[in-house]
Symmetry: C2
Subunit: 143 residues, 2 copies
């Protein structure tokens, strides 16, 4: 997802600050999601922890980032598709969480439709597959 942080801020009428630009830049570096702890490690010298939390929350609210929880309950962030808005995240793709390297991928796989029991009304469905990712599969073969 190739984005221009400054434009993104404008589009969502968010004040342009160097902290906000840095966070977006950092997350946009990779298509793989990045965790809050990783972000804090990378940006902790430039940006206060609290500010980072606030920026991530705002980005999620605005539909700029989407948050994927891993099995340890750690928040991971990835750039949303441009179709996402504050009201509705178009995040109905499957995520893949590698149990080896713990990378989280946004797959180009739609979450399958499924029928809810009587009385249950699903608004969004979240699917995460756990297993070995392509990079880790390759590494195993090499050895």
């Amino acid at each position: 997802m190739k984005i221009n942080p400054v434009d993104v801020l404008k589009e969502h009428s968010l004040k342009h600050t160097k902290q906000r630009v840095r966070v977006l830049e950092e997350i946009a570096l990779d298509t793989v999601a990045i965790s809050q702890p990783e972000l804090e490690k990378k940006l902790g010298k430039e940006i206060d922890r609290v500010t980072l939390y606030r920026i991530l929350n705002i980005y999620e609210d605005k539909g700029i980032l989407h948050r994927i929880m891993d099995m340890n309950g750690t928040a991971n962030y990835a750039i949303c598709s441009t179709a996402c808005t504050a009201d509705h995240h178009h995040d109905e793709h499957v995520h893949f969480n590698c149990t080896n390297c713990s990378r989280i991928y946004c797959l180009d796989v739609k979450v399958p439709k499924m029928t809810m029991p009587e009385g249950f009304k699903a608004a969004t469905i979240n699917t995460t597959a756990y297993g070995i990712c392509e990079k880790c599969s390759l590494q195993v073969k090499e050895n």
Copy 2:
């Protein structure tokens, strides 16, 4: 899921302690999953926090409980089906997390099969639907 805590402990060759029995009793009270914070609130006077964590971890390892992470990264626990073992959790059903009352249900809906991209090998797939549960739907109608 009607279970006898004492039997469960025997079956998994776990020492029978009053703390372990209490935790299982508490979780078995409801088919709906219960969160770690709720458990701590209910049992905190009888059982030390650390002990509770250790019991929950052991139960998960042994395949007695399964852990469902909600969207806030909070651990929720429910009794596993009897088919679950330490090696393999038969947890391939869909979970439903009510966005109103935040209850987590284990639905009798299988996680649909889906194809992973080249190179990705999924071992388990986790699906959680978010929306309004049956109880909350009813309450809305009443008003």
